[in-house]
Amino acid sequence: MPDQPYEPGGAIAGTGAGGAMDLAASEGASLEQHPSAASGGRAPGGPKGTGPFGPDASAAAGGRARSLGSDAWRDLRRNPVFLVSALIILFLVFISLWPSAITWESPLQCDLAKAQEGSRPGHPFGYDGQGCDVYTRTVYGARTSVTVGVCATLGVAILGSVLGGLAGFFGGTGDAVLSRVTDIFFAIPVVLGGLVLLSVVTSTTVWPVIGFMVLLGWPQISRIARGSVITVQQNDYVQAARALGASNSRLLLRHIAPNAVAPVIVVATIALGTYIALEATLSYLGVGLKPPTVSWGIDISAASPYIRNAPHALLWPSGALAITVLAFIMLGDAVRDALDPKLR
C-alpha cells in the first residue's frame, strides 16, 4: 500500500498467522476492550468484554459466549426505537403485499370531474389532479416505492461498501483504479444515464430502474466506506490485532467493519428516500416505470406544480415517504447503536 504505508505493526501482522492467533487476538481484545467497556454508560458493571472481537473476547474475559451479532440482536430487541421502526416497516411490507386489505377501490379508477377535490367520506385524503383517490393511490404506491427504495439502497450499500471497504483497506493500485472508476461514474449525469441505459430496456418491472440506481449510486457509498475504513484502521485495536497476526479477512470483518459501518448506514438510510424520489424523476423523463405504475414518487411529482391549489395531493404521498424514511433512519440508528460497544 504505497499511499498509506502500514505502521510497523501491520508489517508483522502480514507475516505471522500461526496457531496461537486466536488466543493472541483475544488477548488484544481484552486489552483494548476493557477501557471502552468501562467508559460505556450502559455497561452493566463487570468486564463483559463484548467488543468488536466477539466470541474470542468474551471467552477470554470469562463471560458468556455471545457473538457480536447475537449481542447486537439482544440489544436491538430491547430498544423501543427499533421496535417502533420494525413495526412501521412490517406494516409497509404488509400493505405492499396486500394493498387491497385496507382499500376498497382501484388506484386506476379516476374521475376527472373530482380533480383536486378535498377530503370527503370514503375518500379521507381527497383526490389528485386527475381525480384519482389519493388514499388508494398512496396505499398502492407503497409496493413500488418501498421495493425501489429498499432494493436500490441495499444494492448500493452492499456494492458500495464492499468495494469501498476493500479499496480503503488494501489501498495501492486497486484503490487507485477503483477511485478513478468512481470519478468516471460521478461524471455521468443522471438524466443522460437514464435516457441512454433505461430507454433501451423494454421490461416493465422495477428491476431495470433499481439496477440503474445501483449503477449510479454505488460510487458515493463506496467513497464514504473507503474514507471510513481508512480512518478506522488507524485505531489502536486494529493495529494491535494486526500485530497479533490477525488475517486480513478477520481484521476487516471483525474489527473494521462494525466500526466503520456507521457513516454508510447514515448515508444509505437517507439515500433511501432520495431513490424513491429519483424513481419519479426517471418516470418523468419517460424512461422510468411505464404508466400506469402507481408510486409515491410519481404522485408527488404530479402534485408538485399544484401545491398552491391542492396541497393535500402532495401531502399524503410525501407523508408516506417521510414515514418510510423515518422508519429506516430509526432502524439504522438502532442497528448502529447495537453495533457500538462504547454505548454499552
Binding site: Q4, R180, I184, P189, P219, I270
Partner: protein, 307 residues
C-alpha cells in the same frame, strides 16, 4: 506528499480519456439529433444531411471522437446547435454555477455541521427530534416545492428577495437558491456529523481532554469535531458533482443560467459537443475535489500519511 499529489494528477489523464469516451458514446447511442431540430415535422432530407455533415455526424463514431479530442486540445470544444461556441456557453455558465456551489457548500458546512454537533451532543433531546423532523420534510418534499414556496413567500409575499436571479448572479442573490440546493445534502451532513459526534464523544481522547480540564468548546472543536469530520468531508467531496451538474431544478426555479441547465438542455437535444464539453470540465472538478478530500484525511487524522 508531493509525489503523491503528482501521481494523483497523472491519474487524471486516463480518467479524462475514459470519461469523455464514455459520455461521447452515450450521447451517440441516443441516436440522431437532427430530427429534433426541425420541430414537429420531417426535416427536409437535404438540409438534414447538410446539418449532419456540418456537425460531423456523418462519420464513424471513433473518428468523431478523435476529431473532437484533437479539437479539445487546441481549446475548441465545438459549437452548440444554436450556433454558440461551447466554450462561450461554459464561460457564462460555470462562474454562476461555481458561485452557487460555493454558497451551497458553505451552507452545508456551517448549518449542517453546527446542527450535527448540537444533535450529536444532545441525542434524544427535543432539539435532536426537531432536526430529525425537518430532515424528513426536506427528504420527502421535492426541491421543486420547497423552492417554489420559498420563492412565493420571500419573493412575492414579503418581497425580501427577487424571485429570479439576474444574469449577473451575485452572491447575495444566490443565498436562497443556495439554501434550496443544499437542503437535501444538509440532511446528509447533519446526520453524518451527528453520528460521528455521538460515536466519538465517548472515546478516550475526549475523556482525556475533558479530564485535563480543557474548556468545553475547545474539546468540541479541537478534539471531538476534528476527528468526526472525515465522513462529512468525504460526503461533501462526493456531493460537489451533484451540486454543480445536477442543480437543474434549483436553477429552473430561480432562473439561473448555469451548468445544470445547459447540460440538461444539451442532453435532451442530444448535442454531443455541449454535453461532453461540460462533463469534461465537471470530471476535472471531481478529480480535484477528491484529491483535496484525500489530502484533508491526513490533515484531520494525523495518523493517516501519504508518501
Amino acid at each position: 506528499m508531493g509525489r503523491y499529489v503528482i501521481r494523483r494528477l497523472l491519474q487524471m489523464i486516463p480518467v479524462f480519456i475514459g470519461a469523455t469516451l464514455l459520455i461521447f458514446l452515450m450521447v451517440n447511442v441516443m441516436g440522431d439529433p437532427v430530427a429534433g431540430l426541425c420541430g414537429d415535422r420531417q426535416c427536409d432530407p437535404a438540409t438534414a444531411a447538410q446539418l449532419k455533415k456540418e456537425f460531423g455526424l456523418d462519420r464513424p463514431v471513433w473518428q468523431q471522437y478523435l476529431t473532437y479530442m484533437g479539437n479539445v486540445f487546441t481549446g475548441d470544444f465545438g459549437t452548440a446547435f444554436n450556433g454558440q461556441p461551447v466554450t462561450e456557453l461554459m464561460a457564462t455558465a460555470f462562474p454562476v454555477t461555481i458561485r452557487l456551489t460555493i454558497v451551497a457548500i458553505l451552507f452545508e458546512i456551517v448549518i449542517g455541521i453546527t446542527l450535527g454537533v448540537v444533535t450529536g451532543l444532545r441525542r434524544g433531546r427535543p432539539v435532536d427530534t426537531g432536526v430529525l423532523l425537518v430532515t424528513l420534510v426536506v427528504i420527502s418534499v421535492p426541491t421543486f416545492v420547497t423552492g417554489l414556496l420559498l420563492q412565493l413567500l420571500l419573493g412575492v409575499e414579503w418581497g425580501w428577495i427577487k424571485p429570479s436571479v439576474s444574469s449577473a448572479a451575485t452572491f447575495d442573490e444566490l443565498i436562497v437558491p443556495g439554501l434550496v440546493l443544499a437542503s437535501v445534502s444538509l440532511a446528509y451532513v447533519t446526520r453524518l456529523t451527528r453520528t460521528s459526534i455521538a460515536e466519538n464523544k465517548r472515546s478516550d481522547y475526549v475523556r482525556t481532554a475533558i479530564a485535563k480540564g480543557l474548556p468545553r468548546h475547545r474539546v468540541i472543536t479541537r478534539h471531538l469535531l476534528r476527528n468526526s469530520l472525515i465522513p462529512v468531508v468525504t460526503f461533501i467531496g462526493t456531493d460537489i458533482g451533484a451540486l454543480m451538474g445536477g442543480a437543474i431544478v434549483t436553477e429552473r426555479i430561480f432562473n439561473i443560467h448555469g451548468v445544470g441547465f445547459q447540460l440538461y438542455q444539451g442532453i435532451l437535444r442530444q448535442n454531443t459537443q455541449t454535453v461532453v464539453g461540460f462533463v469534461t470540465v465537471l470530471v476535472l472538478v471531481f478529480l480535484v475535489a477528491n484529491l483535496l478530500v484525500d489530502l484533508l484525511y491526513a490533515v484531520l487524522d494525523p495518523r493517516i500519511r501519504y508518501a
